[in-house]
Amino acid sequence: MKALSDIRVASLLALALLIGGGLALPDWALFLMTIGLAKALVSLGIVVQMRAGLVSFGQGLFFCIGAYVAGLMANFAGLTDIFVLTGISVLACLAIGGIFGPLLANYRGIFFAMLSLSLSMILYGILSKMNSLGGTDGLNVAAPTFAGYAPEGRALSLSLYLYTSFIVVAIGAILRTGFDSQHGLVSLAVRSNELRVEYLGASVRRTNAINYVISAMLGGIGGVITGLAIGHVDPEYAYWTTSGEFVFVAILAGYLSIPAVFVASIILELVRSFSNLYFPNTWQMVLGVFLLVIILTLPNGLGSLFHRRREGGS
């Protein structure tokens, strides 16, 4: 019970900080925060799987599905309500994650990574070929409405930011509870030693499959918000370099702390945004050096700055 009230207080505080900060920020920063938070959800999906020892290079698949749900529903079915779109995206990713999760749960390590990557690239190929969905040019996405309220300009940016903040805090709280639940602890055990976990009676395959579906849904939510915020979706959302960036944020943050994922994602957005302005010809190099420095100095990610690993050896 003490843990639960911990989480509730922390969530309320986080929400207050986000809302307060949002009201004070200029437009461009608000947009950056919204994107950073939404993409962090996708990386959080990778963290969920990392806790069980798997690194997915294919989160782009669900990120893209979520984004295209936003685009297609708005353009072809006239649905612009953000709550409805989020719901549809979660259902779509639940369905597709449910199909591939059990399949991919058989693979480990590099093979899991590469197989998840190829699923994502297959979606990329399919979408690139479908000229009815815009092909490689993609689709424009209409601005979202909020249960009837149709804002414009700063009000729109603020509404999106607030919606994202609520979702982020809610998911953060749910996941924190989930990580400390039986399923979450078994995941950590799977990371340490699969064979012993099986011997003790838990199903590794089931754990991995469930984790896969959870990250699928997270990817979808991140995708739908990003698609709506940017106003444009294209097959690039499923390309391997996009997935690679989510992995980067997950590794940067480490799997020990949930807030670290959000901070890491926002830092990446900031670095990307400013490096393009000051180093237009060498921004890739700046990003690469930044990545190496982080990997060298923070082996357990940013999360290790706040959270000591309580477990003993591996």
């Binding site: 690194v55 058989n106 693979y107 390590g109 590099i110 093979f111 990574a113 590469m114 197989l115 190829s118 690239m121 297959i122 190929g125 399919i126 690139s128 070929k129 064979l195 012993r196 391997w240 690679g244 992995v247 980067f248 590794i251 010809n281 060498t282 921004w283 890739q284 190099m285 990003l287 690469g288 050096v289 990545l291 190496l292 990997i295 060298l296 082996p299």
Partner: protein
């Protein structure tokens, strides 16, 4: 029958290219356990160095002995390996051997980002051409079509390189030591093997093969920024199909992908984009770790 022959020839040409481009990647993974995402950039550096080197060769009297340009290409690749491999391996990768294999991937991803811009800083954004070696051997008639003889040279060189690596690993003493390190690093060290040296040699070979792939390709294309990025995905697919760490697997995977792609272009061009992932998915369903798998021991 004609069509079948054309598909076979095209498939072998493309497959040979795939093999030479992928074999370095699988070797490095097999020995060091690191999936080198910077492999594409090394390929690009090989191509750029060759373009520069052959350009210099012909500017300073190479016309007298044009076939010498082939030796220059190989030397350029060797130079790249000798300079870059120690820097990368000793300076950077060494610190990550004990960590998760995915960390290795991310480190090499960082290196890839850095190298891509480094290439632009060194050679600029203008394309380089080095077409003399491509034209030297003239054209050859194979079946109903004309091909450039250079393409067949690539097939020959790939086969020789593949055989050489296989022979080294399986028939020479040094190679068998390397195989021992692949199977069990700790045990080899206990037996007195200088694992550090083996790693450096293996990585150096991997860099050389990547650069050599670039060197061989340079005469066929315009060497420009970004040629490395697209090679990575294709090389990955080939070695996943063949089994990570397996030279024979890389060869088989390369031929399979080469012929599938040639068949798809001639018969069903719409599928061309997917064919490589399709083949990979099919292989992985039946053989989850690729075609040729090393039996791995697992510590309980």
């Amino acid at each position: 029958m004609d069509l079948f022959l054309v598909i076979l020839v095209d498939g072998l040409i493309y497959g040979a290219w795939l093999f030479i481009v992928s074999v370095g990647l699988t070797l490095v993974f097999g020995v060091l356990g690191i999936l080198n995402l910077a492999h594409g950039s090394l390929y690009a550096i090989g191509a750029y160095s060759t373009a520069t080197a052959v350009g210099i060769y012909f500017a300073y009297g190479g016309d007298a002995f044009p076939l010498g340009s082939y030796a220059v290409m190989a030397l350029a690749a060797l130079l790249v390996a000798v300079v870059i491999a120690p820097l990368l391996e000793r300076g950077l990768l060494r610190h990550f051997y004990h960590r998760d294999e995915v960390i290795g991937v991310l480190v090499t991803y960082g290196v890839f980002l850095i190298l891509e811009d480094a290439i632009k800083l060194i050679w600029g954004v203008d394309p380089l051409f080095v077409y003399e070696p491509y034209d030297l051997l003239g054209m050859v008639e194979a079946g109903p079509l004309f091909y450039v003889a250079y393409d067949f040279l690539v097939i020959a060189v790939s086969a020789v390189a593949g055989f050489a690596v296989w022979y080294f690993l399986n028939r020479t003493r040094r190679g068998k030591v390397m195989l021992a390190v692949i199977h069990d690093r700790e045990m080899s060290q206990t037996m007195g093997v200088n694992v550090d040296k083996v790693f450096l040699l293996a990585f150096g070979a991997g860099v050389f093969l990547a650069a050599f792939g670039g060197a061989l390709t340079a005469p066929m294309i315009s060497v420009s920024p970004g040629i490395g990025v697209n090679v990575i995905i294709v090389a990955f697919a080939v070695i996943i199909i063949g089994g990570l760490g397996s030279i024979e697997g890389a060869a088989l995977g390369a031929v399979m992908v080469g012929i599938s792609r040639a068949a798809s272009v001639h018969l069903m061009p719409e599928l061309e984009l997917f064919i490589i992932y399709f083949v990979m998915a099919v292989v992985l369903i039946f053989r989850p770790e690729g075609i040729f798998v090393r039996t791995q021991t697992r510590k309980i």
